[in-house]
Symmetry: D2
Subunit: 360 residues, 4 copies
């Protein structure tokens, strides 16, 4: 009810503020007997971590995860898995200069209005730092999905006006991690990096698009009506800070197509039903059809910029807000592991739910 829980069968609840004692997550519903590779969880967190490259924020956060429960002798036990990331120097900084000011296009104003109070330090609960907890939980979801043969890959397909138009099937997704911008096309990656650096030098920020592909999704995942697989993915993606749009398969471009060109014709490929095209993006009627699932997520430019901006404070007085330098000029490189984590959480949930739809 209060919005901090995601999923039904594989269910997570995150907690924690940017500058409180700790962030964390509990996973309820992870099946017993899953081997848990703690190094993998830590590696996923490293992909999201600030300070990992020149084009992301230079803040230093170790993001070391402590597993408090649910694992015994290297395997999940079926009981809740709680993971905590302590905030190293939570109390050290001075936030009094923004304590009563509403930063433009941040959540300061709306939190204050909603709750009548807020932890203003570093955005509190509205900070993207909360997504570290999702990445930790998503890592465990990925371990679960791997056992079922699914793979998830996200990548940056646009930064500002620089758009990579190559379809995902034509990309070498093993190259995503080869550059700090996480675009698998080396030339485009270089141009994107250069653009981000230019924007950063100008004290400004810029948006981007993260694309994702799921391969080997079992036919049948997803529920009809409200919990369509793509509807749950849409919610998952839009729940990520700064995400403004979601489209799957043909998406907004499909609007201009005729049914006769958009329809994906079925054929039999050696005993397996496939479709000749994949405008459906691997999902029909909300249910995976076995083809690649692909979708795209729009991210707005980060709201924190260097230049002073007009705003108001809690009593409605006109004030100026100035950004500090250590923020991301562009969010999408670090959004890639978050998009993957949320995708993994949706799929793990539906993978378990699928066990219940037919008579044994």
């Amino acid at each position: 009810m209060a919005g901090n829980t995601f999923g039904q069968a594989f269910r997570i609840t995150t907690f924690g503020e940017s500058h409180g004692r700790a962030l964390g997550v509990t996973i309820d519903g992870c099946p017993a007997g899953l081997p848990i590779d703690e190094d993998f969880i830590q590696a996923e967190l490293a992909r999201r971590r600030p300070g990992q490259s020149k084009i992301v924020t230079q803040r230093k956060e170790a993001d070391r995860v402590d597993i408090l429960s649910g694992i015994f002798e290297g395997h999940s036990t079926g009981t809740p898995i709680a993971m905590v990331i302590f905030n190293a120097d939570a109390r050290s900084k001075d936030y009094s200069h923004i304590a009563d000011k509403f930063r433009p296009s941040h959540a300061d104003f709306t939190y204050q209005q909603k709750y009548g109070r807020r932890d203003y330090r570093g955005g509190g609960r509205s900070s993207a730092r909360e997504t570290a907890a999702r990445v930790a939980a998503g890592a465990i979801a990925k371990l679960l999905l791997r056992r079922a043969g699914l793979s998830i890959a996200a990548y940056v397909s646009q930064v500002g006006e620089l758009a990579l138009n190559t379809p995902p099937t034509a990309l070498d997704l093993s190259q995503v991690e080869a550059t700090p911008v996480r675009c698998p096309d080396p030339q485009m990656a270089e141009r994107m990096i250069e653009l981000i650096q230019r924007v950063r030098k100008a004290g400004d920020t810029i948006g981007g698009v993260v694309s994702a592909v799921v391969k080997h999704c079992p036919v049948g995942l997803g529920d009809p009506v409200f919990d369509k697989l793509h509807a749950d993915l849409a919610k998952a993606m839009l729940s990520i800070n700064a995400c403004k749009g979601f489209e799957y398969g043909s998406g907004f471009a499909g609007v201009a197509m005729r049914g006769s060109e958009h329809n994906d014709l079925f054929y039999d490929a050696d005993g397996q039903v496939k479709t000749r095209s994949n405008h459906s993006g691997g999902i029909q009627g909300g249910i995976a059809n076995g083809m690649d699932i692909y979708f795209r997520c729009a991210f707005k430019p980060v709201a924190t910029i260097v230049a002073g901006q007009e705003s108001v404070n809690e009593v409605g007085e006109k004030v100026e807000v100035t950004g500090k330098g250590r923020h991301d000029p562009c969010v999408v490189p670090r959004a890639v592991p978050i998009v993957e984590a949320m995708t993994a959480l949706v799929l793990a949930d539906h993978l378990l739910r699928q066990r219940m739809v037919q008579m044994a």
Copy 2:
């Protein structure tokens, strides 16, 4: 868990197949004391009904709603409101010609794989006829929202390549119902209607975009983290048949903007905090900030077309599937009331949830 329930505080569960005995919905959580205008519910259903104009399907369905419970002496009582729409001539038709065939880009194949069986008549549970139940429930949500001063208006902003680029604030939304295509710009409406008729004559179908605007949303609605107001809207919209994408505020176009131009500066307007621009689309950090909420939904071309299409049947044999003439050439005119209904359901849910976030 099985995907037929939507909402938490204002919660609906729909049921029914396209050609079964009946469709219906139960609403659990409607507060007691809401005056229920049954004519309004029926009027909303009429906006979704087939056969209402020349540019939609010519099927005849009365869609008369029976309220079975939860209303006494013209008011909601706080108990579940069950509404049923009986299917007039459920058993009359012959569907044996498609009983074992998978229609391209429909849900026939995925349902069969998921459940091992399916009601193949008219698409069964995957039919867009299910949305009639949502419209009935959405009508009651609208009655609730009206009391709180909110208004919701959706309209067609694109059909095929014909895109209306006027921002919602510059449109006369009272003109939405003036044309059967539900585009508030009369010239564009005419062109859209002509395009749809041309596509229909060609036995083909075409996609479109539905835009929506929410006015007077109380500041504070929406939850941080997973149940962000726009995340719940995204899920709601993507759960509508044929919807392929969602964007709010600046959406995908915002990607190419700089933070310095995208940020919405706060100012005090006679004691009320407003923003000078509204790229945020009325939602910041997942929570309504009091500005207009606006978003757009992409709909693919309807999958049923007249021309024969290659496909396979349940045993993998190659077959041809032919559409019947009485389907929508373009889904967006009838999608408008459905988008509104789903919007109303999301907002009613968050309106009630908002009652619990602060100490009394």
Copy 3:
């Protein structure tokens, strides 16, 4: 949130008022492929129906169930199963004499206070008539459980001071339906019937106990911590009108035992682990251990009696309330199928949930 939904994986939502248009239930989560025997559903309803014998209320209600969705060609399809029981002569009676009076030990006062209004006809939503919907849903749960080999039997073990002390293992449960009081011991049944008739002639009512036994429950059902199998059973039973207490296994009597006599010692019975005694009532740590599950439910005397009783009306004035003759003198004979239905709903839910607890 509003209390009309029960279960998680096998989830029901009931609706309807005693004297409204209809009662009903939707089941969401019934697996596809379950053969549905409609006669069995109707037979279960007949066991709950008023007017079935001399010792229950003589009201005539047909309780014919209409299945509106979710069944195709005799099998469940995995989509919601909606069932409706129309109220034959809903509007015929005059309830104005109790419209503003609070009947003692009924829910009139609390409903009025909670909601500010209520459907006062026959108790509205608080009427035990709502349990007809549970029995219909429970019948489908029973069909599901049968396939898994479980059996459920409830019976009357006490009426007023007449208590049957024979342990369930020593009873011939095939005799439950042999007498209208549903006590499997013929002598005790006769005495109970006589007592109920005596109480009815005095215009009074009397309480009783329903006991239940579940056989062949798979080891492992039930969740640790909050959703312990017996905790869910307790909630299920206490949610039945007039139920005041629940105990399982040794129950309240176990309080006086020593650990050394109460502990159930494990032994190996031809490769199957069993316990020598069964004070645990088949459940340890909230999880079924494979032994018989047994529990008892206390029901208070029905609140409606013939004699006039002091009360107040909606404006606090002193009034007298008089009961009409057609109410149950003792609720337990008709509570037997309701206890069974609620038991079946709990077990069906946990049976499905159990599919998700281990890696495949």
Copy 4:
């Protein structure tokens, strides 16, 4: 779905094993603006803590709570409150002697069967140590309820065959904490203490009953049908380790009463509707009527005893299990704060839910 979450509006999820790194709980849904008294939380934990008196287990556990999130400047912020209790010497002990043995009437066997593996150290997740997390969460629920004027008091009303028959209204509940057994009647307390000491010396254990009273519960709390206030209380109590039965109001004794004596007659007490008797236990139709709520919970004798007991191991071989000395001879003195905590969680949940049932 996996049973570690309780409540809907005020929702907790507990995690942690007896001998893992830590136990803990997240509360989602605590309204913003509640002053949080950390000393009170710690004091409540001290009431549950082992080693607090001569008649409970002599294990030493500090049970110091760390609040990780959700509190800022001494008040709840509306975001999740995470609390952790680290296990001091988690890894120090040797449990290999019971690693593969099933202790009689513990959850060893059922956990192993359910999950295929288990953390066997000190019972793992099935340990009553988990209830420390509930007491911490319950303390915050109590702080919330106090603001609304409600008070909760539990006490020991029976140990073995020693039953206190004084009705709760005639007891001085301020004396509950005066003795280590938490029975408010000093003479009975002395006899109970003596009995427990005798049982302990014999290496045995004994059961008991905890009674509870809620005063000043607002009229209207509780939902009709499934989430009746007493049904939620029943589930809450039965979810406590070793609890075998629940009854409220007249309970099992009410079975033998006639309706004419059981009915609680309404009267007007200076503008407030009250009942002359209170067999309803303060709840009618599942909804609080403003009178005292009272109920009783049966607890079985603790399963761990000193004498050797016959059992089997994981491969079905006959083994002997011997208890260690440091376990509770009787669980009810330490169950008192747990019963109160669970009561507070149920009431806090319904207090918030009640905000949504009427039009504003």
